[in-house]
């Protein structure tokens, strides 16, 4: 299970990481008119198996250890490197995602790819399979540490507080009729709960209730507030607005009952399931509403199994 998740993480990173983050920036190069015989010393000294051939900062070819050995074996006269180099170049840009480099490694069987600047075509680095593996491992460790640290700090907060009872409270402001940002408060709340070490199932249920309450505030009111309190044994959620209120609460609790306008329904909201969903995923449910005054919803989720 753990392993599987790490694989997913690596995959994700291959897409998110840019070539420039993992490539080797200091490249040893040769000029096209240098003699083949100079390669022996350069390849040996730098322990590399291939070199980009560069003229006026432009990549013109690549000369590999294999090319060099073939030249040796054929016992030819010394000649400029440009006569033996490979001119067919497979390159990557430094702002490409690492995945495109991995694809090229796979397809061509090459061991190294020159890295080119997209703006002016200059050679800016070289990328080997080893660079990719090393770079990803480095990043994985940094990411892992950062999230571990966050979780660690957050989950021990209760232990560090000296009091007879501890409650953490969060407040989110919901803007009415703002469908662009609708759901944002609930997403942030869910992330926060997870970091605090709240069980994923509980965090999900709280987020669902909070999302439905948030949507109600977005659709029907000029805005409202969502508050969450994390206590040792429960999460308490409160949604309050001073909007139009609900005339008949009993009726509003019936699944499928909705007063949402058509355009809201077309977006897939206003199905008349919001309050039902909140009721179903919570352990305690309370709603107070007065027409013209507003609505207050209070729900609890118990966290000890």
């Amino acid at each position: 299970m753990k392993v599987e998740k790490d694989v997913t993480k690596t995959r994700e990173m291959v897409y998110e990481t840019k070539v420039r983050e993992v490539m080797t920036g200091q490249v040893i190069t040769v000029g096209p008119r240098e003699p083949m015989s100079t390669l022996r010393e350069i390849l040996r000294r730098n322990r590399v198996s291939g070199l980009p051939v560069v003229e006026d900062e432009r990549l013109v070819g690549i000369i590999s250890l294999e090319d060099f050995i073939k030249w040796l074996a054929d016992r030819e006269e010394d000649c400029p490197i440009e006569e033996k180099m490979t001119r067919q170049l497979v390159t990557v840009h430094r702002d490409d995602p690492v995945v495109s480099a991995v694809d090229k490694f796979d397809k061509t069987g090459l061991g190294r790819l020159p890295v080119i600047s997209r703006e002016d075509g200059r050679l800016v680095g070289i990328l080997t399979k080893g660079d990719v593996v090393e770079g990803l491992l480095r990043k994985l460790e940094v990411d892992y540490r950062a999230e571990e640290l966050r979780r660690h700090r957050a989950s021990y907060i209760f232990e560090d507080i000296e009091a007879d009872g501890t409650t953490l409270a969060f407040q989110y402001q919901v803007r009415g009729h703002d469908f662009e940002r609708a759901g944002e408060s609930s997403t942030r709340l869910k992330r926060t709960l997870r970091r605090l070490g709240v069980h994923p199932n509980v965090a999900r249920r709280v987020a669902i209730a909070s999302y439905e309450a948030e949507m109600n505030q977005v659709v029907f009111t000029e805005g409202g507030t969502i508050r969450a309190r994390v206590e040792p044994n429960r999460v308490f959620l409160e949604a309050e607005d001073d909007g139009p209120g609900i005339a008949d609460v009993e009726q509003a609790l019936q699944p499928g009952y909705s007063t949402a306008p058509d355009w809201v329904r077309e977006l897939g909201f206003g199905a008349g399931m919001g309050l039902t969903n909140i009721q179903q995923c919570s352990d305690q449910f309370q709603i107070e509403s007065e027409p013209g005054k507003g609505t207050r919803l209070a729900v609890s989720f118990f966290t000890n199994e």
């Binding site: 469908f179 949507m215 897939g268």
Partner: protein, 119 residues
């Protein structure tokens, strides 16, 4: 089965969060009503819908769904793609209508969670 496998078999075109295509699909849910999905879909489900606005991402993130499949070749809004990338929710586009796509998914063994227990 993973999203990547389903995408290949059913010619679904990834439109967002391509890096998450190895999400395991544990079942499916088809609906265009967001609250219905919130109430009845299960974590790990592939959600089949024609809604393309950004709120579908929030719903999928909230329910820890495996991904969203859009039908009739409907493409997600720009903001939807942006949000999906940020939240890591894969969005796939199918040229098929919902009825056809669900049929194909079912044929490949994707079921509504809970239905298997009844059989």
């Amino acid at each position: 089965m993973t999203l990547a496998e389903l995408a290949e078999k059913l010619d679904l075109e990834p439109a967002a969060a391509r890096g998450r295509l190895d999400n395991e699909v544990t079942g499916g849910y088809a609906s265009d009503l967001l609250s219905d999905v919130i109430g009845n879909a299960e974590a790990g489900n592939l959600w089949v819908t024609l809604q393309i606005h950004q709120n579908i991402v929030a719903v999928a993130a909230m329910k820890d769904l495996a991904g969203i499949a859009l039908v009739n070749g409907r493409r997600p809004d720009e903001d939807t793609i942006e949000k999906a990338e940020a939240e890591g929710i894969p969005v796939l586009v199918s040229r098929l209508p919902a009825f056809e796509l669900v049929g194909q998914l079912y044929r490949l063994g994707v079921r509504a969670v809970g239905v298997d227990d009844v059989e």
